[in-house]
């Protein structure tokens, strides 16, 4: 294993360990997911497929903002300086991206399960939608992780993150929504693979941008 993979792994393990010990983010977001979907169930019952799909992606968006918001704020100034001296900016952002992607992956699965339990199951192809929601969760987490870094450097909270992120995420949400429309139809249409390829390419671009831009953000 090269030096940088070890750095990323160590930083990732540190985040994971913190999470396991503190058990704040995971259970906090879990409660948020459950209560939001429960409120939706109380107010809408079991909606039609179109509404279901729209609500699902909107809820994913809000879950993501909440899950990712804390990831840079929890590191104090001194600790950031320490990581900088031992690991470097690129490893740091990559470990954060990895951790948040994993967190969001888990949350997407959980929220999909609760959605199906409470709001009914209008899916024609549950498996391809499962794949899409995992991919969607990861895409959202990548964008918002970088925006969380920006918001944390600007010493602002989740509110600024939402202001910056919502316009930026619209194209991606449109793509996801469109791709998931395919999963709702009885006849599996061609074009799903192309969409998934496009979303994956976008994700890779975000990672590349984060790696290039984060060192500038980090400097003081």
């Amino acid at each position: 294993m090269g030096g940088w993979t070890r750095h990323i792994w160590t930083l990732f393990k540190k985040d994971l360990l913190l999470e396991v010990r503190q058990q704040y983010t995971f259970y906090g977001v879990l409660l948020y997911v459950a209560s939001t979907i429960f409120v939706l169930y109380l107010s809408m019952g079991q909606p039609e497929a179109d509404v279901w799909k729209g609500l699902f992606w909107m809820i994913q968006l809000f879950i993501c903002v909440n899950a990712v918001a804390k990831s840079f704020v929890q590191e104090g100034r001194g600790r950031l300086l320490y990581f900088y001296s031992i690991a470097g900016a690129r490893d740091f952002i990559l470990s954060k991206l990895l951790f948040n992607a994993l967190l969001m992956l888990l949350m997407s699965l959980v929220s999909l399960a609760i959605f199906m339990l409470m709001l009914g199951n209008p899916l024609a192809h549950p498996l391809s939608f499962l794949l899409l929601s995992c991919l969607g969760g990861i895409s959202l987490s990548l964008v918002f992780t970088f925006l969380a870094a920006i918001a944390a450097r600007a010493q602002q909270g989740a509110a600024l993150m939402a202001i910056l992120g919502f316009p930026l995420i619209i194209p991606q949400l449109l793509l996801l929504n469109r791709a998931s429309t395919i999963a709702f139809q009885d006849v599996l249409q061609a074009g799903l693979a192309g969409m998934i390829g496009l979303i994956t390419a976008l994700d890779l671009m975000i990672i590349a941008l984060a790696v290039v831009l984060f060192p500038f953000l980090w400097k003081d």
């Binding site: 920006i150 600007a154 600024l160 910056l164 316009p167 194209p171 975000i206 831009l213």
Partner: protein
């Protein structure tokens, strides 16, 4: 004087040409569009110039990140601001045009949505800058956001309209308007450079104003 300001004179001449030839010149007769086709010299030119302005802003943001020269940050900010103004004008001219040809001022066309998203992103850029008081930090974080937002947004708003059907010409079964020579001869040499030069003129004036305001502070 002339050596420095020739492009301002050129800008006025080109815009005069656009207005005179654009309103009086011959245009192809198309059903539904009829005489509104002349809006092409204004609406399309606005969007085109807006893209050019945002790309210029991006270039200055990258330059700022590479050199840490404060002036580049002012350039990036002012080009983005003029881009927003042009975007609003493009939205207004497009909306009026749509109202008289498509039957509604707003119809959730993918290109309309893309335009609104672009404007929202650049307005968020201004909000982000205003959230910080430290000049250096504001410049750096603003530049990072500018690069990130541009690189994320523009590929998608160039790709998505190709995936879905649009009312805008240029897609399948809906030929682009500028295929006609009478339109092209006014748009490419007249309207597009004219409006872009006007935008650059406005921006340079604003940059000079900013620099003067800063000199007074020191």
């Amino acid at each position: 004087m002339l050596r420095q300001n020739w492009w301002k004179i050129l800008c006025v001449i080109l815009l005069l040409y656009t207005f005179v030839a654009g309103f009086l010149g011959p245009v192809p007769a198309r059903p539904i569009l009829n005489e509104t086709i002349r809006n092409y010299y204004f609406h399309i030119a606005m969007w085109f110039s807006m893209m050019i302005l945002f790309i210029t802003s991006l270039v200055y943001s990258i330059k700022y990140l590479r050199t840490n020269n404060h002036i580049f940050d002012i350039y990036a900010l002012e080009y983005a601001k003029t881009g927003i103004v042009y975007g609003c004008l493009g939205l207004a001219t497009g909306s009026a045009w749509a109202g008289f040809t498509w039957g509604a001022f707003w119809s959730n066309d993918p290109k309309q949505l893309g335009a609104v998203v672009a404007l929202l992103i650049y307005l968020a850029y201004l909000v982000l800058r205003n959230s910080m008081t430290d000049v250096d930090k504001r410049a750096r974080i603003g530049a990072v956001y500018n690069v990130f937002a541009f690189a994320m947004l523009f590929p998608t708003i160039w790709i998505i309209p190709r995936l879905v059907e649009s009312l805008h010409p240029g897609g399948a079964g809906n030929p682009a308007i500028n295929a006609d020579g009478r339109i092209r001869i006014i748009f490419w040499p007249g309207a597009l450079p004219g409006w872009t030069l006007l935008a650059v003129w406005i921006t340079t004036l604003r940059i000079r104003l900013q620099l003067l305001a800063e000199q007074r502070l020191h």
